[in-house]
Subunit: 340 residues, 2 copies
């Protein structure tokens, strides 16, 4: 179905569900990133144009430091075990591929979700379609891209307050309009958010130009210890390095950003040591790393996927994944190289 | 004058000059960057829709490695002293603020320029208006942005071959749509280039993801030796470091890119040692570093300027410029902080 038909049909359901609700819970995925928070805050700012319902924005706390500044995010709460379930009659999930990845809701409350109407908006190809209505557009670069295009179908005017979180999500998920799925549509929708008054300067300043020196130092140490296996480049981040350099776990992603700029490698793997096991991030230029992530219990997108392995060390995780990743590059190198 | 009136008027002159010419020289500035080369190659690809004139693309050789791939750039030549002057009846200069910064033309040939009709298209606020017609749009992010908007006024259809170099120039000069001058217009024009078939994947791969490991290593060494003076952060790049690490002079710009992502500093200064003196790059978030550059014989834009100082060392250049730069931050910090 093309986007126009999809959005037209979805708008009918959304209007009915949203206008008839008394209490709406907005929820997104665990470990929220710019697109997760941007989608959620964007909708939180937008829905009052359509409904007088009480809107409760639920986000895992604390919000990552680089996103704390987003106006409206200070209204978000986590539904911890000590808080009562607010008895929403509608749950809207954004940017979340499956119900078990919803964030900011204590395990004790999770059973309520099964008994509440869920509608969702998402761009993950791996979405399990767990809602009563699922607006999933897998070729969109970001959930914020879908919301930007969808809001006018609901008769909602995009104000500056709505535009800033939506542009945040588009710019973070596209790595500033660089990922290969970026399209004319992505840029046009971005332009419309500029016109609506999105605070582009603040997004750039807070998200793309707020790296701490500690993060750069950690990244350069990680990169100096890089390993190369054919078309795969991988690095490990021992916990001791993060602690020694007074960096945070999030900040080792700086190494990932830097590695993505290196010429040559088809696949990049960053393995972060955790208190329990390791967390693995996979990035590719062309090949589908989501397939490897899925095989090992992870998920994500074609060019950006992740896996948590509770029982592994950095070296054992590398040994586990490298055969699959190098095979992936060998299988697909002749036909899919964009830069050939 | 608004852009529509400006472009309408310019189109009349351009049509007349271009259609009546027999030989057209396209020239851009010394040390060409993505916007310089993109503008020149974009026009080279576009003008045959308007004229049967011989078009000679003049670019300082060799073209920087990260731009070598641009289709059409292999046709460019430098007019070295051993080559005859091709007797153009029209010179079009792109992205060049003053005639003395034109690149790829031997000093012996430069006097010919005074006796040839020059029309120019540029976005530098410091443009000296040295042409018989000067299409200078100082609020455009890139000369390629102006050309993208202007070509339809000439009745020229933007093909994929034209779109790729133009998108290259927009993406490099805006640092991937991040500089604060990026506007809704920039994104809309970018979208139109995507639609025209610009090879976005190749631009990203070749320009933003082709950093050599040597460049990253050099950058991390430079950053580890960083100095902070109030709101100014500065680094020096001794020639010996570049040589030891098997990096190139261009590659020390990687440190500049990394420094621009650090939170906090208002002004960033990178001082590269040269065989003769030093080359200084200035970047700012808000304040006008072009004013300081100009005072010391350099030039550039409000947020990105440069100076060559033949008689200085890294330390003496820092001592010379730091008072002006810190004064700049003190003067303007209360009113112009975007991220406040």
């Amino acid at each position: 179905m093309d986007r126009i038909s999809m959005f037209t049909a979805a708008a009918i359901t959304w209007r009915e569900r949203v206008t008839n609700a008394n209490t709406i819970l907005l929820v997104t995925h665990v470990n929220p990133d710019g697109d997760a928070l941007g989608s959620l805050i964007g909708l939180m700012m937008a829905l009052p144009q359509l409904t007088e319902a009480t809107i409760i924005p639920v986000v895992q706390q604390p919000i990552p430091q680089y996103l704390e500044w987003v106006p409206g995010s200070e209204q978000s709460i986590a539904l911890t075990a000590d808080k009562p379930w607010p008895n929403p009659d509608l749950i809207i999930t954004v940017d979340c591929a499956s119900a078990d990845r919803l964030g900011g809701i204590a395990p004790q409350h999770m059973h309520h979700i099964e008994h509440t109407a869920v509608i969702q908006i998402d761009h993950h190809a791996t979405n399990t379609l767990f809602g009563v209505h699922n607006l999933v557009v897998a070729d969109a670069c970001a959930t914020c891209e879908i919301i930007t295009e969808f809001l006018p179908y609901l008769g909602i005017t995009i104000t500056a307050g709505i535009a800033t979180p939506l542009l945040l999500g588009i710019m973070t998920d596209t790595q500033s309009f660089q990922i290969y799925d970026t399209s004319a549509k992505t840029l046009s929708l971005g332009a419309s958010l500029f016109t609506a008054g999105a605070d582009h300067a603040r997004i750039v300043s807070k998200v793309f130009r707020s790296t701490r020196l500690e993060a750069l130092t950690l990244a350069s140490r990680v990169i100096n210890a890089m390993h190369t296996h054919g078309d795969v480049v991988w690095c490990g981040v021992p916990l001791t390095w993060v602690e020694e350099l007074n960096a945070t776990d999030d900040e080792s992603d700086e190494a990932l950003h830097m590695l993505q700029r290196i010429e040559g490698p088809e696949v990049i793997m960053l393995i972060k040591q955790r208190n329990q096991g390791v967390k693995i991030s996979l990035r590719s230029r062309n090949v589908n790393v989501a397939s490897v992530a899925k095989k090992h219990g992870g998920g994500g997108h074609i060019h950006a996927a992740g896996i948590n392995l509770a029982e592994h060390t950095i070296d054992s995780a590398a040994a586990l994944l490298l055969p699959d990743l190098t095979a992936l590059c060998t299988d697909s190198s002749p036909s899919t190289n964009h830069s050939a």
